[in-house]
């Protein structure tokens, strides 16, 4: 499988050249154009229970669109929101992705929903996150651009800006300094990450654009 990510950071989309009998699994609705010969079907990702769990808590779909053909073909897919598309190669390791950020993967990647713990309720990212593990190509998307950051030590991120992070990182929810600066800085709660590993952050949030747009709607 050959692929090229185009249009980042505003409107990322992925051009894929599928080889004979290669398969790609895509979030439903994300396919934007393809060779007329490609077969599309749907596939449940993981077991019945895990797919149901992912649908209910992970903000993702029960089924994934499956694209393949004995002769291969071309395909392009894009996320629903304007933003960056990021690729990551998994080789027997895993990555935590925030609910709703999953876009596509090859069949060797397993996606399951995972309870983020009590603290996750305050993270602004939903109480559940997705864990992608296994071997293969993983594509995920953000709203706005993606910033990659290697963390070694402590790092503070505003809630709602996290896209994905390596499992070697841990976080806790806290305020910005004392309660006064927490309330008045306009930041509210933040996530303090610690450990060594990589984190992917988004430069904008959908909640942010929604509240900006609301007073302008007629």
């Amino acid at each position: 499988m050959r692929f090229e990510v185009k249009g980042n950071p505003s409107y990322g989309e992925v051009d894929v050249d599928l080889g004979p009998n290669e398969t790609l699994l895509i979030e439903p609705g994300a396919m934007s154009r393809m060779s007329s010969n490609l077969n599309s079907s749907f596939q449940r990702q993981g077991g019945l229970f895990s797919a149901m769990f992912r649908k209910m808590f992970g903000g993702e779909n029960f089924f994934l669109g499956k694209y393949e053909h004995p002769d291969g073909g071309k395909l392009t897919f894009a996320p629903s929101t304007p933003g960056h598309v990021e690729h990551r190669q998994l080789t027997n390791n895993s990555l935590n992705i925030m609910a709703g950020c999953f876009l596509a993967c090859t069949p060797g990647v397993n996606i399951k929903a995972k309870f983020g713990g009590f603290k996750a309720f305050f993270s602004g990212e939903g109480a559940f996150l997705l864990e992608a593990s296994g071997n293969g190509d993983l594509f995920f998307n953000s709203f706005g651009g993606i910033i990659e950051k290697e963390i070694n030590g402590d790092f503070i991120v505003d809630t709602g800006h996290v896209v994905a992070f390596e499992p070697s990182l841990n976080y806790k929810i806290s305020g910005m300094g004392n309660w006064k600066s927490t309330m008045l800085s306009g930041e509210g709660l933040v996530m303090t990450f610690s450990g060594v590993g990589k984190i992917y952050l988004q430069t904008r949030t959908v909640d942010g654009i929604a509240s900006w747009l609301t007073p302008r709607l007629i």
Binding site: P28, S32, S41
Partner: protein, 233 residues
């Protein structure tokens, strides 16, 4: 006349330089800057030797294509060159294509502007195609000779088609005459088409060019909608 894509990426716009006597046309409301010698007037969409009735008919048809009732026209009025900047309503790229001998057909809402030598007409797509393509009941046809400006939601890609290509509905911007499309299910059976989340697609066949946009506005609506407060009344 010089048509330049002035800003690229998420907030695309075009800057048009006109010599004396030249004319540019755009959908109403698209102008965001103009030199002081530029005369801006409003014109109905009627064709030659049509009266008031023709103007009304063309205007209403254009509204079905997601376009404005009237067109704005720009001409320098002092014998000097002048410039006008055009930008679409929503985020996304602006692309300029040559019309003539190729005839371009723009899906509903994709038309931004065109030079004076281009004749605009509307093309009814038929009820079935219109209802299911998500692209509008009526398309805009641009024939004649000159530059045509289109806008899209997201990134615009141009695809040379010889044989066939499948485009998800909601992603079409424009195509050249000579291509035909049918609305059909994405693949396999109906159930698998619906479950894969694609549902209906547009299958193009023939020879020509297709312009597509990377993102589907109705999917953004699906994400943004639940975050907006309920409407009152």
């Amino acid at each position: 006349m010089n048509v330049k894509i002035d800003t690229e990426g998420a907030f695309g716009s075009a800057l048009i330089t006109l010599d004396a006597g030249e004319k540019f046309v755009s959908e109403a409301g698209a102008m965001y800057r103009a030199s002081s010698n530029m005369e801006i007037s409003v014109e109905s969409r009627k064709k030659k030797d049509e009266g008031m009735w023709g103007a009304l008919k063309s205007g209403i048809k254009a509204m079905f294509a997601g376009e404005s009732f009237f067109l704005s026209t720009y001409t320098p009025n002092d014998g000097q060159a002048g410039e006008v900047g055009l930008a679409p309503t929503h985020q996304g790229e602006v692309r300029s294509v040559k019309v003539g001998p190729e005839v371009w057909i723009c899906s509903g809402g994709s038309y931004l502007g065109s030079s004076g030598g281009i004749t605009l007409d509307t093309q009814y797509q038929g009820l079935t195609k219109g209802m299911f393509s998500k692209e509008g009941l009526v398309f805009v046809q641009a024939s004649g000779e000159g530059d045509l400006l289109v806008n899209g939601f997201g990134r615009i890609s141009s695809i040379d088609v010889s044989g066939g290509i499948t485009v998800d509905n909601g992603h079409l911007i424009a195509f050249t005459e000579g291509l035909e499309y049918t609305i059909s299910k994405a693949g396999g059976g109906w159930i698998s088409s619906m479950m894969s989340g694609e549902g209906l697609v547009m299958k193009f066949s023939g020879q020509g060019k297709v312009l597509v946009q990377s993102h589907d506005p109705s999917r953004l609506g699906g994400v943004l909608g639940p975050l907006l407060p309920p409407r009152e009344g």
